[in-house]
Amino acid sequence: MQSVSGDVHPEAARLSFVLCYEVRMLDTLVFGSVVFPLLAALAVYFVRGDAARNIIVPVSVAITAAAAVGLASLGSFSYSPQAILGISLNGLITVLDFALLGFIFLIALRMSNLLIMGLTALQVLGMVYLDFFLMDHGTQVTGFYADSLSLTMVLIISIVGGLICFYGLGYMKEHEEHLHLAKSRQPRFFFFMLLFLGAMNGLVLANNLSWMYFFWEVTTLCSFMLIGHDGTDEAKTNATRALWMNMAGGVAFVAALMFLQKSTGTLSVQDILAKSAAPGMKTAALLLPMAFLCFAGFTKAAQVPFQSWLCGAMVAPTPVSALLHSSTMVKAGVYLVIRMAPAYQGTMLSAAVAIFGAFTFIAASALAVGQSNGKKVLAYSTIANLGLIIACAGINTSAAIAAAVMLIIFHAISKALLFLCVGAIEQKIGSRDIEAMRGLFKVMPRTAVITVIGIVTMMLPPFGMLLAKWMALESAATATAAMPPLVIMLALGSALTVLFWARWAGVMLGSTVPGENPPAERQPFSVRLPLLLLAGGAVGLSLLSPFVYSMLVAPATALYAKATAYTVTMGVFENNAGVFAVYPLFLLLGVGFVYALRAAKKVGPEAASLPYMGGSQRVENGKIGFNGPMNGFVETAAGNYYMESLFGESKLSKSINVIAIVLLAVMLGGVL
Amino acid sequence: MYMLSNVLRNIMGKYSTRLYPFETRPAYEGFRGKLVNNIHDCIFCKSCQIKCPSQCITVDPKEGKWDCDPFACVYCSVCVDACPTHCLSMENQHRKPAPSKFVVSLQGTPRKSKKADKSAEKPAEAAAPEA
């Protein structure tokens, strides 16, 4: 039922010697990662009732996570299940493919959305052409293949994603209480959430591009369903937008499949990468499908000009946003781009991808500056970071790929954390607006501090994100092509990110009298646990970043370039271009931070004073303000600058989209 | 950029600071500084009290007292102009700041007394910090 083929990679070759039981183990683990979530999803869907769900979800995410850890501990492998219950998997997936496309077509038909219908039809046609005319069904294509990159992805998907699902339990309960639903729609919700995890795992493990395509479309469907979950008009429109944009990506994917099949004769990722390594292979025939794949990746990763679907996805309940942003969906996009990176390494396409990613980085960062909606800030920041990842993929050196993978890991954790925080905040204060979070510390001290921790891990050293950003910038500086514009975009973009993060962190900590602590807050366990775990993870994993690097990231980059990106000695990253001393920094900053906290604690209430108000400060009903005209009390207010005239969505989006389209056109055109 | 020549000229030349109180510039002749009363010549006619816009002089002809609150005085010299005997005058130095307030209270010889120049020759001084 399974075979282990050792013809692809020496790593994998080693695996052919493994014992039979290990193979079975592998079998179980892949099953646990990919198919089990689907079964669990079916279980939650059919076994209704809160109690059952409260058991099924934690248990199944725990199993999935365990499977992921198991897979990761096994190391790279390649693996081809041939058939399930006697049905050939290839055939099964082909059938499912058409079924899925048909289902989407039906949805489009119901909404009488011509665009989606058209896009779906195109894909169907393409698949028909591919499956029945192009494909040589005799060739064996390894179904699954895993290296450090995919295993890292699996870990993120299963663990972070699992935590989000768990958080969803508490969250959705309250969410539905808010909505006063007659009948709980949670079974449907968790069905898609769990399905999503499985599909993502399948996607990142797939070696056969046509399998990957299948999983790809499953995530599209899941996201559509989840975005539209609340069923409001806005939810529906936004879900539809997400659908058509992703379907457009799907068309590109199908196109890439056709071209690849035609030019290389295989859809095996490993084969294609191996072939491309040969000199003289990086011709238009190979690069065109690569460009299409990148395009597909861009749509999924919500790169400009497709950013709007991801922002629109904000209407969905928070766990969905968290899932889409941190561990699934968008990460699929960048995964694909990185996965294929060796195939276009050193070409103009690579430079174009880098520029495009950098542009997304700066554009999305600028858009984030103009937002006061916390979730939107998070959304744009996600897009920006994905842009950065893509830029790294485009830079395409081992250091850059290392940066990209590090970004994927740390972004997933911090971003999931931030989304969950915003969700928790929103349920408490009824708003996701940053302005409404002013002085949140007084209301939700723990969540506020955790959110600030999340933000700080996003933007400051010595945390993983910054380590990754450092890698990115240094590799950009050594990039061979298009360096000056690339660097300037990255520099501007990172300054913009500091801007919007710092002000958010600042407003949360609002005033309390020194030495006085606000009352402790209460929170459901299923909300608090993921928050604590993720916050701990964001900090702890940063502390472990040298290990993360050498265990997960370095092997992943080894596939891309011979040279190792960084040597790590005693927690100090170093290569020719620079040094980043993680441990010393952690040590000094940590000690300093503790000292600063103690100093802050020491200042007691006797040192308290009101803010300076030109001498007319006044307190009324616990509100701080000043004595204004007519001796009236005026409460002071302060607002961040969102500079709508500069950074407003409506102002910027248009020009950003135009530039992005031009860049895309150049990218596609440049290949030919 | 036009300022450049100005600041450069400043730094080349000497600073224009008067190093008060280390160096003092000779006072201008007519400066209206500290108000002094040569109490010998005072006839307690009350002209100063009546004309003073700040109403800070109190003259008590019976007791022969002339009081002035130097912290309410606005140094306008109206009293000086009004004084028939020219016993009031102003120094050309400002009155020095003090850590507490007081009233300058001068004891002269009441007008009606014939032995005017005998008893109170020297001005009595009394520091009466205000309540």
Binding site: M459, L460, L473, A596 | V7, G13
Partner: protein, 282 residues
């Protein structure tokens, strides 16, 4: 180890140098304005006095932020003396800048809040410039390590004069000098009182002041990299740079942040791109 000890000594000397620089700055500024000016040691008197004042704060976050600001500025200086990585140094410096903003934002004082917003915009203006300058250096030397700069034979200024000007912009902003004393300035004669510093007082203000000295020395240190080949040249470059800063401070009005963004990012980035292209081609 030796570098580490040397770096520690350097770190200890930095506030002394920073304070003296500030003192000289104030004296020279006074003379430029035809005033006698304060004693050269004045900044030390100020800081000592502030340290002796009773603490007065609006909330505890302020205090924490002040400490972190000083800490990270000092750390950045330490990294500089240890000839570490330029980008890393920059990121560490950012911690301080960010916490300055966080401290100001945590207070419900409109002046501090607006000051914080402006400080952020200033960061937006100078951060890209500094990064680009570092990239320029890395192009010239092949790495971001300061040690590699010292290994160069020719002074950097010769190959990156425009980037030096760009760094000059950043320096002016960091020094809070006209025309860029937008978020806070040395004397409170502006609409924001003292912007981000408004709500700090006593010892905590002293901390920020010391942190500022670290920042100034650090940026001047970065400038010094442009003429590393001889001590004389380095000193001359620094003197000229600092003198130019003081002069500019005295011959310009304070500008507004929209002007700053337009100008610093516009002119600065054009200069940098030009210089980068030049480096890139050669």
């Amino acid at each position: 180890m030796l570098t580490f000890i040397a770096a520690l000594i350097g770190l200890a000397l930095t506030p002394v140098v920073g304070g003296l620089l500030a003192g000289v700055d104030r004296r020279v500024t006074a003379r430029l304005q035809s005033r006698f000016g304060p004693p050269i040691l004045q900044p030390f008197y100020d800081v000592l006095k502030l340290l002796g004042k009773a603490p007065m704060v609006v909330n505890s976050w302020q205090v924490m932020s002040a400490y972190i600001y000083v800490l990270s500025s000092a750390l950045a200086v330490l990294l500089f003396f240890m000839q570490g990585d330029l980008l890393l140094l920059f990121f560490v410096m950012t911690i301080g800048a960010v916490f300055q903003v966080v401290g100001a934002l945590s207070v419900p004082s409109p002046y501090a809040q607006v000051g914080a917003q402006r400080e952020l915009l200033q960061m937006l203006a100078y951060e890209p410039l500094i990064i680009v300058v570092f990239v320029g250096i890395s192009m010239a030397t092949g790495s971001f390590k300061i040690a590699d700069v010292y290994a160069m034979e020719k002074p950097l200024l010769l190959s990156m004069p425009f980037l030096f000007i760009a760094l000059g912009y950043a320096l002016t902003i960091k020094l809070r000098k006209s025309p860029f004393d937008i978020s806070a300035c040395h004397h409170a004669h502006q609409e924001l009182v003292r912007g981000v510093l408004t709500e700090y007082s006593g010892p905590h203000l002293a901390l920020l002041e010391i942190g500022h000295w670290f920042d100034v020395v650090l940026i001047l240190g970065l400038c010094s990299l442009f003429w590393h080949t001889s001590i004389v040249g380095m000193v001359a470059l620094l003197v000229v740079t600092y003198a130019a800063e003081i002069l500019i401070d005295n011959i310009c009005a304070r500008m507004t942040w929209p002007w700053m963004l337009k100008n610093v990012l516009g002119v600065g980035l054009v200069l940098s791109v030009f210089n980068l292209l030049w480096l890139y081609v050669s």
